[in-house]
């Protein structure tokens, strides 16, 4: 019993110690609770909120693009799409089978949807079909009770109402490239699935304004990222992008684009000569911008890129051509500035010699004695060879620059080229050689080193017509209904005496309106709509001495790529110039025969439509109301 007592005593003592140990351990638990739930509670509360709440972006509606009369050129369509959420669908295969009664689903479509469903987490919606028609939409909605996990979502899709008619001006939107994402400062909007940015044309130029501002919503998400609910009071609605009003007259633009379609590859620019509004700008062939919004296939892309007619290129701003005879007005104005008398006569025997080199006039046998006016009318090369030699390349170049050559005009779409106006400094810098006098005659007829874009030619025509340093532009007002401002600040006058302009304008008038002028066939007979013009035929190949002797081959005998470019510049009405136009037909042949009729049609149509008429603001206000 002693033993038993001793054992009991040991037990009691040791059990008490054990109990004490337990109390100690329980105290550490309470201590840790205090640490976590009182001392560090704020920190963990923040972490809990971070877990639970997530801000999601809301895509803003992209601004519309309108023509000068408020006609919509680019707008946003609702893009209704069918989505399935795999975890809510019992049997995905069967549901797809059911859906195929309402929407076309190929076997490949189904396979790729099933594959998607496997790869992604089961609560992520998968798009089954996009761009539903109203009928499809309705039939799916009606059958919704039998289609668990199927939902119809709405997004936005850019729609170009004019298709190919102004693809080079408007451009297109597409998913941001890797470069867009990493190039600029971080913009979360770009990461948004389905978000598209302007990739060319005014869509790119005015992308920021068109985009608008993103909104945001705060949602509660669970551990796997599924949205549980939205906190309504934290929602910030997105701000839609601004509508963009262009100077374009879409009716005229359609006319120009369709008129150019008669040629393989051509471009034309119609400007308001008084303020630089671009009324139409055509480049053929064109492409359909909608294929970029729906996603261009590799095949389509390769076809576009390998097409020798370069449909993606905007030839009006990106094509560089020798201006040929359309450059002669620059030589004339430079000569006048140098004090050369417009009545000075030059005898044209059909050839002009500098040293050992012979320069031929386009007319075999020559024009005889011509003054500056008739030199324009007949486009006499010898007169301008001689005048260029008298004037000097540097003076010609300086005059040409005043008219917008040799530099970007500053038009508000990306991708403009600057052409080239050579002078002695340029020659020295580029070739390390002085300018040789033998190079000047070619420059006098717009050949040799000189290149210009059709837009630059139109700017020249406009500046010749109005005498003002207009800058071409597409943008009129950011918001429909706002005051019609561009006319308010009139472009400054060029620093050229009016009498010099008069000489050149008279020369250009004779080109079309006088019997024997190179563009007489292209004249506009309607009273008050007569134009002043200049033709140009730019040689693409080198014509050898032997060919000159044996007879220059006709364009129709040459392969397309070697034929001359046909050019035409004009402004109208000749009395009070309002509109300016340039037409360039690539490898079209003679300027008067090929470009002339096109220019005639466009200039006549322009004046009949008279897009620059005054009641513009009123019209815009009306579209705004409707």
């Amino acid at each position: 019993m002693n033993q038993e007592k001793a054992r009991s005593l040991v037990f009691t003592r040791r059990a008490a110690l054990l109990g004490g140990g337990q109390i100690l351990l329980l105290s550490t638990l309470v201590g840790q609770m205090y640490q976590l739930q009182i001392v560090e509670s704020d920190r963990y509360t923040v972490m809990s909120d971070d877990n639970q709440l997530s801000d999601r972006l809301l895509e803003p509606l992209r601004g519309r693009i309108l023509d000068r009369f408020g006609i919509s050129l680019a707008e946003n369509d609702h893009n209704y799409r069918v989505e399935v959420i795999p975890e809510k669908v019992g049997d995905l295969k069967q549901v797809l089978e059911q859906l195929s009664r309402f929407i076309p689903l190929t076997d490949e479509d189904r396979e790729s949807i099933l594959l998607d469903a496997k790869k992604r987490r089961s609560f992520v919606p998968i798009a089954v079909s996009e761009n539903l028609s109203w009928h499809q939409l309705a039939s799916i909605e009606v059958n919704a009770p039998d289609l668990p996990g199927v939902s119809i979502e709405v997004g936005q899709r850019r729609r170009y109402t004019q298709g190919r008619n102004c693809s080079h001006i408007i451009g297109y939107v597409a998913v941001p490239s890797e470069k867009d994402l990493t190039g600029g400062p971080f913009n979360p909007l770009l990461e948004l699935p389905g978000f598209r940015i302007g990739k060319s044309g005014v869509e790119k130029q005015y992308d920021e304004a068109l985009r608008g501002k993103q909104g945001s919503k705060r949602v509660e998400v669970d551990a796997v990222g599924r949205v549980v609910r939205e906190l309504e009071d934290k929602r910030v609605e997105p701000t839609s992008g601004q509508d963009l009003v262009l100077s374009l007259d879409i009716g005229l633009q359609q006319f120009v684009q369709q008129r150019l379609a008669s040629e393989l590859s051509a471009s034309a620019v119609v400007l308001d000569a008084t303020n630089g509004d671009v009324l139409a700008l055509g480049s053929a062939p064109a492409y359909d911008p909608s294929m970029f919004t729906r996603g261009v296939t590799v095949r389509e892309w390769q076809d576009l890129m390998s097409d020798p007619l370069r449909p993606l290129a905007n030839k009006a701003t990106g094509g560089e051509y020798a201006p040929g005879s359309t450059f002669k007005m620059m030589v004339a104005l430079a000569a006048l500035k140098r004090g050369i008398d417009p009545n000075r006569h030059v005898f044209c025997p059909g050839v002009y010699s500098v040293g050992n080199t012979n320069f031929h006039c386009w007319k075999k046998g020559g024009h005889g004695s011509v003054d500056m006016y008739n030199a324009h009318k007949y486009s006499c090369d010898v007169f301008f060879y001689d005048t260029a030699m008298q004037t000097g390349i540097d003076n010609i170049a300086e005059m040409a620059r005043q008219f917008g050559f040799g530099a970007q005009t500053g038009i508000d779409i990306p991708g403009e080229r600057h052409g080239l106006i050579p002078d002695s400094a340029w020659k020295q810098a580029t070739y390390g050689e002085p300018w040789y006098p033998g190079e000047t005659p070619s420059a006098g007829i717009g050949q040799g080193f000189i290149t210009a874009t059709p837009l630059q030619l139109a700017v020249m025509a406009a500046r010749l017509g109005s005498g003002r340093a207009i800058v071409p532009h597409f943008r009129r007002a950011a918001i429909v209904g706002a005051a019609d401002t561009p006319a308010a600040d009139e472009p400054p006058a060029l620093d050229i005496p009016e009498r010099h302009f008069e000489v050149v304008r008279e020369g250009m008038r004779r080109v079309v309106n006088d019997q024997g002028g190179t563009a007489f066939r292209a004249r506009i007979a309607e009273p008050g709509m007569e134009m002043a013009a200049k033709t140009g035929t730019a040689q693409v190949r080198h014509i050898s001495m032997s060919e000159h002797l044996s007879g220059v081959r006709k364009n129709k005998d040459l392969p397309w790529q070697q034929r001359d470019h046909a050019l035409f510049v004009c402004f109208a009405p000749v009395a009070t110039p309002r509109y300016a136009l340039s037409v360039v037909v690539e490898h079209g042949g003679g300027g008067s025969a090929v470009a002339g009729p096109i220019a005639h049609d466009i200039m006549l149509e322009t004046q009949r439509r008279n897009p620059a008429r005054a009641n513009l603001g009123q019209k815009l206000a009306m579209t705004q109301k409707s």
Binding site: Q3, E4, A6, R7, S8, V10, F11, T12, R14, A15, L18, G19, Q22, L25, L26, T28, L29, V30, Q32, M33, Y34, L36, Q37, I38, E40, S41, R43, Y44, T45, M47, S48, D49, N51, Q52, E220, V221, D222, A223, V224, V228
Partner: protein, 385 residues
């Protein structure tokens, strides 16, 4: 054999069922039910519905209460008599799951009995207490000083520990060692012997390490360096701490725990249920639950001190320490004080075997109380004194 005329002190051992029922400490049962209700409420909150957890657990709890009472009414000498048999059975079951797991090419911890999925490791926690209580009951204070007498109980502890580690179930292994150690201690084993065993154990750590599965190694390493694995095991501890910390003093409100409801909290219905409780009910709720458990510990000690037989004393302490280990390891793990070893919170966590084992344990505790005045000789099974 006729038993001698019972003395007053022995009388309770020969009580009728009705008299035994009157001996049950209903107040302790009340606290057990209180914790059970706590658990039911938390499982309801975890699913925002009685399905799939709360209702099933509630039914099990009621079933467990019946077992508790039934266990407490059985004569304590029956447990003494069959202690080794129960231990042997539990041991066989452990071997069985290990072998079955080996054949099934994967870790397996339970036997499917259709009605219930039996976890032999849970059964072993009680069986070990019974076996050790019986062994030390028969050792006198003198014999216990002989180190050789300790060989058998040491094997009793470490044999199932080895089997459990093979499953692998680190939590149960730790609990078996701790419960065993506590019983050695109260039985009167000298301190220096613990030191020897501990040193031997420490020497065996590198060896044991090689036997651990990779995921167990990772758990221990992650516990030591939680920042090294923010999305793996460390993620669980971090999310658990966020849940508790964001609960603050008063909690986010019943059924309003965002961490739990939005699935950031792993295993919110089982091992991490205390984190959810702390998130929704705050430190106040956590401490309240801890107090309820403490009340049960106090009952355990009181019963141990009041028992007149050594078997009962050892049994009561073993059961109490077992319960304490559950509570402490689980809470410490959820709070980031211990590695994640997979120990449920008794009476709260969802799970059948653990709950029934715990209630069975309470039944034994109650049984010790009911038979507190029964004197049982060292040698005998109560019939030879």
């Amino acid at each position: 054999m006729r038993w001698p005329e019972p003395l007053t002190t022995f009388r309770r051992a020969e009580l009728s069922i009705a008299e035994k029922l009157r001996q049950i400490t209903w107040s302790m049962l009340f606290f057990i039910v209180l914790i059970g209700v706590f658990g039911f409420a938390m499982l309801y909150s975890a699913a925002h519905s009685v399905d799939p957890w709360a209702m099933r657990q509630g039914i099990r709890f009621l079933f467990g209460l019946v077992i508790l009472v039934a266990v407490s009414l059985v004569d304590i000498r029956v447990y003494l008599r069959y202690a080794y048999a129960i231990y042997g059975l539990a041991f066989m079951l452990l071997v069985f799951v290990d072998v079955a797991g080996e054949i099934g090419m994967g870790a397996q911890r339970w036997i499917d009995l259709k009605v219930i999925q039996l976890q032999p490791s849970e059964v072993m926690k009680i069986a070990l207490v019974l076996a050790l209580a019986r062994y030390f009951h028969r050792l006198s204070a003198d014999t216990i000083g002989n180190p050789l007498t300790l060989i058998v109980p040491i094997v009793m502890v470490f044999a199932p520990v080895g089997l459990v580690l093979m499953q692998p179930d680190l939590g149960t292994a730790v609990m078996l060692v701790l419960v065993g150690a506590a019983m050695f201690w109260v039985a009167g084993v000298r301190l220096w012997k613990f030191v020897v065993v501990a040193l031997a154990g420490a020497g065996a750590v590198p060896l044991a390490w090689t036997f651990l599965h990779d995921y167990q190694k990772n758990r221990i390493l992650t516990f030591l360096h939680p920042e090294s694995d923010p999305l793996g095991t460390g993620y669980h501890i971090t999310q658990s701490k966020i849940a508790m910390g964001s609960g603050g003093l008063g909690g986010k409100g019943f059924m309003k725990g965002s961490q739990a409801y939005l699935n950031y909290l792993p295993e919110r219905q089982t091992d991490f249920i205390f984190a959810m409780l702390s998130e929704e009910l705050g430190m106040i709720g956590g401490v309240l639950l801890l107090l309820l458990y403490t009340v049960l510990f106090v009952y355990g000690y009181a019963i141990a001190f009041n028992s007149r037989n050594h078997f009962g004393r050892l049994l009561a302490i073993g059961i109490t320490i077992n319960l304490f280990c559950y509570v402490f390891i689980n809470m410490a793990m959820v709070m980031g004080l211990l590695p994640v070893v997979g120990v449920p919170l008794p009476l709260i966590s969802y799970g059948g075997t653990a709950m029934l084992t715990v209630l069975f344990g309470f039944g034994l505790l109650m049984c010790v109380y009911v038979h507190r005045d029964l004197k049982i000789g060292q040698r005998g099974l109560g019939d030879d004194s």
